[in-house]
């Protein structure tokens, strides 16, 4: 390379505050952080004086791309926002489009979506806790949790055909119904989950090393968390029991019995513990849902969005044209706008969508919890130790695909 590359970011602070402090650049590609994020930090020895957090390295024009595809074609795209809990993205997006179209999904689909949302939350929290512990040296806990997670990935692959990006939601329903024996296998996995999570509790909860690394580190107060738009485990770890599943129940959450775990201090330990407790609640909900799951169709009978049976597409002209129009023009979504929010594992995931009445959206905007939390990250990092940046950042659980869109 002949000329030096231009710097893609401009730090908010160019000169150090003090004579003996030093400004260092961490990331965007740093072996200790997962996710491409750049943190420019001013250090006094090991102490962090202030930070400037930059994201956007995974920006791929998601919202621009949405304006050029049919409503149906967007489902694989929304999968790739938070790729650790892709099903929640699917269902939140489909729910928004269904609200615009005035569709009410079938009972079986409603319960299945709820069950799979909780399954996704379980997988997401497992990943976050496992990676967070590994970053502090707990390789055993990481392997325990990731092993269970892999059972879940395989199990979800048996249902959806993919391990991570499922493309399983459909406008007005789901891609396919449960395969034979799926719920029985689910129970087996949940039993294994309980075994291994109990071991992680035993290894970590009262372990002096972890308490010293986590307690009082990365603290954010309730007032600050609210002001900085934090939702999900971060807000709840400060002691505020705010959860969309309780406050504005969607899907089947109104019929379920569950608690909203909260923390005390809003530090890394509370965020770890809130996630661990939320996983137990998810398991409890999934067991209830497996009992409640009604029989019946999973897709609504609505020709505006649901594809006709292949059998009929081959035999009658109306269904053939219906299929053709759905593929070429996309579902006819009436003009209007909607903000649809679901409680994703990391916080409030909102889809703001504007339709002008065609088969393609006029605008799709994602209110991504990761992005908003990156705005609050400096609050948690400033004043801490350099070595605590990694676990604190891990406890925020920023997912690049969703943050940068």
């Amino acid at each position: 390379m002949d000329t030096p590359l231009p710097n893609p970011v401009r730090s908010i602070f160019g000169t150090p505050l003090r004579e003996d402090s030093v400004i260092v650049n961490i990331g965007p590609s740093h072996p200790a952080t997962h996710g491409t994020v750049q943190i420019i930090a001013e250090l006094d020895g090991e102490r962090v004086l202030r930070t400037d957090v930059h994201c956007g390295y995974l920006h791929r024009g998601f919202e621009k791309e949405c304006e050029d595809h049919t409503w149906h074609n967007l489902i694989p795209y929304v999968d790739r926002l938070n790729y650790v809990s892709a099903l929640v993205n699917d269902f939140a997006y489909c729910d928004g489009v269904e609200q615009l179209m005035g569709i009410e999904i079938t009972p079986r689909c409603r319960y299945l979506r709820t069950l799979l949302s909780e399954y996704s939350r379980l997988v997401d929290h497992l990943t976050c806790v496992a990676a967070g512990l590994m970053e502090m040296g707990a390789m055993t806990a990481f392997l325990y949790l990731v092993m269970v997670r892999d059972f879940m990935y395989e199990h979800l692959a048996a249902l959806t055909g993919a391990r991570v990006t499922y493309t399983y939601g459909r406008i007005g329903g789901l891609a396919r119904d449960l395969p034979e024996g799926w719920l029985a296998r689910l129970e087996e996995i949940l039993v294994q989950y309980e075994d291994f999570v109990a071991r992680v509790h035993a290894l970590v909860d009262r372990n002096r090393i972890f308490i010293d690394r986590l307690r009082g580190v990365g603290v954010i107060s309730t007032a600050d968390a609210l002001s900085f738009g934090c939702t999900g485990p971060i807000l709840r770890s400060t002691g505020l029991a705010r959860d969309l599943r309780k406050d504005a129940p969607y899907l089947a959450y109104a019929e379920l019995d569950f608690d909203v775990p909260v923390g005390i201090a809003g530090d890394n330990y509370d965020r770890y513990f809130v996630r661990m407790r939320e996983m137990d609640e998810s398991v409890y909900m999934m067991r209830q849902l497996a009992q409640m799951l009604p029989e019946g169709p999973i897709n609504v009978d609505d020709r505006r969005c649901t594809f006709p049976d292949k059998e009929r597409v081959y035999r009658e002209i109306e269904s053939l044209i219906n299929h053709f129009k759905l593929v070429m023009d996309g579902p006819a979504v009436p003009a209007g706008e909607v903000y649809c929010a679901h409680e994703a594992p990391n916080g409030e995931l909102g889809f703001y969508m504007v339709s002008t009445g065609g088969g393609m959206p006029w605008k799709v905007h994602v209110r991504s919890p990761s992005f908003v939390h990156m705005g609050a990250a400096s609050r948690m990092l400033d004043g801490g130790q350099l070595a605590d940046i990694v676990p604190t950042f891990g406890s925020i659980n920023m997912i690049g695909g969703e943050c940068d869109r």
Partner: protein, 157 residues
């Protein structure tokens, strides 16, 4: 409940706008740019809208007031969200920044500035966040071609 709140908000907050509607669990107000700041302040202080969720814009190239800046708020007291829509002209696409009221505003407004070129008065840190220094144009405007590339690193042949 929803209609009570709608009426009280409509009467107390924006008597001038008169265009409040209830849409999919959201109270929607259309405001003039100068009404934005006082409305948000009252929402926050009197109605408990303590969570500023999101700010974005919608581009309507055919309209005289081309950009619609959209704010979303949630409250700890009621399940209804509030959406504020503020129309601004392409010649002067600026609204007041909410950075004084909400800590999250400074960061989220940077994204909206990146994507639509909306200037937020009072936000002194509108550096690119999802885009990079030196990027020209605002990609989510309808007149920005989807295929345009501005690589920082030259392509290898």
């Amino acid at each position: 409940m929803a209609t009570d709140l709608l009426e009280s908000l409509q009467q107390q907050i924006v008597p001038a706008a008169g265009a409040a509607t209830l849409s999919h669990g959201c109270l929607v107000f259309s405001l003039a740019p100068e009404e934005l700041m006082p409305t948000v302040r009252r929402l926050k202080e009197e109605f408990g809208y303590d969570l500023f969720l999101d700010v974005t814009a919608v581009d309507w190239p055919a309209d005289a007031l081309r950009f619609e800046v959209v704010h979303h708020f949630a409250s700890s007291r009621q399940p209804l969200r509030v959406r504020l829509k503020t129309r601004v002209a392409a010649a002067d696409p600026s609204v007041d920044s909410l950075a004084k009221l909400y800590g999250s505003a400074a960061f989220m407004e940077r994204e909206c500035h990146d994507m639509y070129g909306i200037a937020f008065r009072g936000n002194h840190d509108l550096r690119p966040i999802l885009l990079y220094e030196g990027f020209t144009g605002h990609p989510l405007r309808k007149d920005y071609p989807k295929g345009r590339e501005q690589p920082l690193v030259p392509y290898r042949n």
